[in-house]
């Protein structure tokens, strides 16, 4: 396995001996191995999140952990444990150091072996969901990182180019997608979720764990792979397929995806972004709003977590994307008060600028989109012989260009909204005069507004996103005020259930 290259770019601790196993590490792996064998999920979680990070902080801030070969003797040489340990090993290198090209390739090999074992159905462990989520998340992250890495060819040494030529199968996009797909299929997770809806299966209620002596690993890796597939498709620019991969998960309810905060955020972030690109601004706004509210309420509980920085970063990105959505589709009533306050603090000026739809607005859209968007990738293998270039920005530039083109098309709608707010009826002629365009152009603008403010959902149904609407009768525009809707039905249902609960509680009370 990878010997840590002391003279490579990966950190500078020349005293690192990959085969030296400090006592604390010995204790750590022995205990972890035992807990895994005894399926003590709670203890495993404590060690995974707690001890591992404490040891890292104390001893491995700038160097990798001891190699898997070095610790193997303390864990009976257990093959699967070593695969798991190696996965954590590489994840640590990516997080704290910089992986060497060789390490990138070896990490890929490790994932292949690890997923291979899981897919064969021979794994008998129960692991904490946090760990299983981290595995899938990291897998996609390292893929994204590798695509970025190999798209920067200008400064590569001959040695690095040779490596790319030789290990051309490492992190190939087919492999990545097919592993995720295989996990989804082999785990039967889609059928499990369907059966759960019919009450034939317990899944969400037990958080995916298996209380009958079985294993949760394949099932949960399958579940998280659906989110992984959404993410990969977003990175490729295929938003529709991404959303399709996620369709079995019902976002209108709590689910297993909400129990690990990393998976919750990743799901909503990518779901929202995909909807933004699909022009389903209403859906994007709703989901971003829910997530941002959640983070506002609960982030204090995650301050000590190693994921805290990531949570904050995604939080900021979602505010930026929310600002963009609201500028294209002003539906402020969909946003909670607290989120709205935060949003105004961060982006009030910028949102005003964006809604002016001039050249300056374009710059702001560019800025916020670029900040909030995922790190798009070019999935194809690099061409290694012609003049070497850096093309790692190409994918991002394409998505940005398409997005700004859409914004530009909506520039036509700049003036009309303000007029629709003032008038309840106005002739086409007059409105054209006020907007300083000829009648034919005005009619075009009216139709564009209608088209842009209505999106098509997955079943082909037309859904309105408009805050202000109108219809035209020959040559007169009639503006329609959107009535605030009172949701009586939902309210009554909730109260009925609440009272029932109260009544049954009261009935339990015995008076002496």
């Amino acid at each position: 396995m990878a010997a840590y290259d002391a003279d490579s770019s990966a950190g500078g601790d020349l005293a690192y001996d990959p085969n030296f196993v400090p006592d604390s590490v010995k204790t750590f792996v022995v205990h972890l191995y035992r807990q895994i064998r005894e399926k003590n999920v709670y203890e495993i979680h404590q060690m995974y999140e707690g001890s591992f990070n404490r040891l890292t902080d104390r001893m491995f801030r700038e160097s990798p952990w001891p190699t898997a070969e070095a610790v193997a003797p303390y864990v009976d040489g257990d093959h699967v444990f070593c695969l798991l340990y190696r996965e954590m090993w590489f994840r640590h290198v990516y997080a704290r150091l910089t992986p060497t090209p060789k390490q990138r390739v070896e990490s890929w090999d490790n994932y292949c072996s690890l997923f291979g074992v899981v897919l064969h159905g021979v794994v008998n462990m129960q692991l904490p969901n946090q760990w299983l989520w981290d595995m899938v998340d990291e897998f996609v992250y390292q893929f994204q990182s590798y695509c970025q890495y190999r798209a920067k060819l200008k400064t590569k040494t001959e040695e690095e180019l040779q490596l790319l030529r030789h290990f051309d199968q490492a992190w190939n996009v087919y492999g990545v997608l097919n592993y995720l797909q295989a996990l989804v299929e082999k785990s039967n997770i889609i059928q499990i979720l369907e059966r759960e809806k019919e009450g034939l299966e317990q899944f969400t209620a037990v958080d995916g764990y298996d209380y009958q002596g079985g294993s949760n690993v394949l099932k949960m890796l399958g579940y998280y792979s659906m989110i992984g597939l959404l993410r990969v498709h977003c990175l490729l620019g295929d938003y529709r397929t991404g959303l399709k991969c996620m369709a079995p998960i019902d976002l209108s309810q709590q689910g297993v995806y909400t129990s690990v905060i990393g998976s919750h955020i990743s799901t909503i972030y990518h779901y929202g972004f995909a909807n933004l690109m699909l022009r389903r601004y209403g859906d994007a706004i709703r989901e971003f709003n829910k997530m941002l509210l959640y983070i506002l309420k609960y982030k204090q509980y995650h301050q000590k977590s190693p994921q805290y920085d990531q949570i904050l970063k995604k939080n900021e990105q979602m505010y930026a994307l929310l600002a963009v959505c609201l500028s294209l589709c002003p539906q402020l009533k969909l946003v909670d008060e607290n989120v709205s306050t935060q949003l105004k603090e961060k982006y009030n000026d910028k949102m005003t600028k964006m809604q002016r739809y001039d050249d300056e607005a374009s710059t702001v859209y560019d800025e916020l989109f670029s900040y909030g968007c995922p790190k798009f990738i070019t999935p194809s293998a690099p061409v290694l012989d012609e003049p070497l270039t850096n093309y790692n920005q190409e994918a991002y530039r394409l998505q940005l260009k398409m997005f700004l083109f859409e914004v530009k098309q909506q520039q036509l709608l700049a003036g009309i909204r303000s007029f629709l707010k003032i008038y309840s009826t106005i002739t086409v002629t007059k409105l054209a005069q006020f907007m300083d365009v000829d009648e034919a152009t005005l009619r075009t603008i009216l139709m564009t507004y209608k088209h842009k403010m209505h999106s098509t959902d997955n079943d082909g149904k037309i859904v309105s996103n408009a805050d202000i609407d109108f219809y035209v009768d020959d040559d007169t525009v009639h503006v329609v005020e959107a009535k605030p809707t009172k949701r009586f039905g939902d309210y009554f249902l909730r109260q009925i259930l609440k009272f029932e609960e109260m009544i049954s509680e009261l009935e339990k009370v015995q008076l002496d």
Binding site: T241, H451, T456, G489
Partner: protein
């Protein structure tokens, strides 16, 4: 027999896309399927996105005529957003080729309801677009859709410009829709005819079902134990 075989192939291709989409070996099948969509006036966005993804993974295998056909079919699917979904997957260098620039301009005109400019541009590019049967009718349907979102009563010249029909052809078009789609024609004092479009929730806001107040069946089932 030939028709059966045809049905068989498309069933298989769509199955492939659902079950094994990340597979370089289905590229040829997907390309054939695009041609089949064109000739038999079928359409499958998922299969076409699958193919565009494979082209993204292996750019040397990209066939620009096939991509052009996919884009034309996507245009015909408007108001659905398929055209831009496809463009997200097509690299910038390819998009800057002549035929794609033309298609992008056409899409732009349709997105911004500039129908006269659109039909003018179509006239300049007959060879490109006539290779896909059903193009004209599909765009007419989109134009009617946008008009139906916007107008209760639309003046004849506006309709004429949108669907690129005049005189006798327009009269025949109107006759057909009066008979089959619930349209009506009003004579307006001294001016052109007014076409009355069928009411829907977008041009007749009073028809808008207050959908947000309806309760889904699933939610109602929650109180069944209480009711019994």
């Amino acid at each position: 027999m030939a028709k059966e075989a045809q049905l068989q192939v498309s069933y298989t291709v769509e199955e492939l896309v659902a079950v094994n989409p990340y597979n370089p070996d289905i590229l040829a099948d997907l390309e054939n399927f695009v041609n089949e969509q064109v000739s038999s006036q079928k359409y499958s966005l998922d299969a076409n996105l699958c193919l565009l993804r494979l082209y993204q993974f292996e750019p040397e295998r990209m066939s620009t005529p096939i991509v052009a056909r996919i884009l034309i079919k996507a245009l015909m699917a408007m108001p659905a957003q398929d055209f831009s979904l496809c463009l997200f997957l097509i690299p910038e260098q390819v998009q800057s080729e002549e035929q794609f620039k033309t298609l992008i301009v056409l899409s732009h005109y349709l997105e911004t309801a500039r129908f006269r400019l659109f039909w003018d541009e179509v006239a300049k590019n007959r060879s490109l677009l006539e290779s896909v049967p059903g193009f004209q009718q599909a765009i007419e349907a989109y134009a009617v859709h946008v008009l139906s979102l916007t107008y209760q009563k639309v003046p004849r010249p506006v309709l004429a410009e949108a669907i690129n029909k005049e005189g006798l052809a327009l009269d025949q078009f109107l006759e057909y829709h009066v008979a089959n789609s619930g349209w009506a024609i009003e004579k307006s004092q001294g001016r052109s005819q007014l076409i009355v479009l069928p009411p829907n929730e977008f041009n007749h806001p009073e028809l808008k079902k207050n959908a947000s107040d309806s309760v889904s069946f699933e939610h109602v089932t929650r109180i069944f134990p209480v009711l019994s």
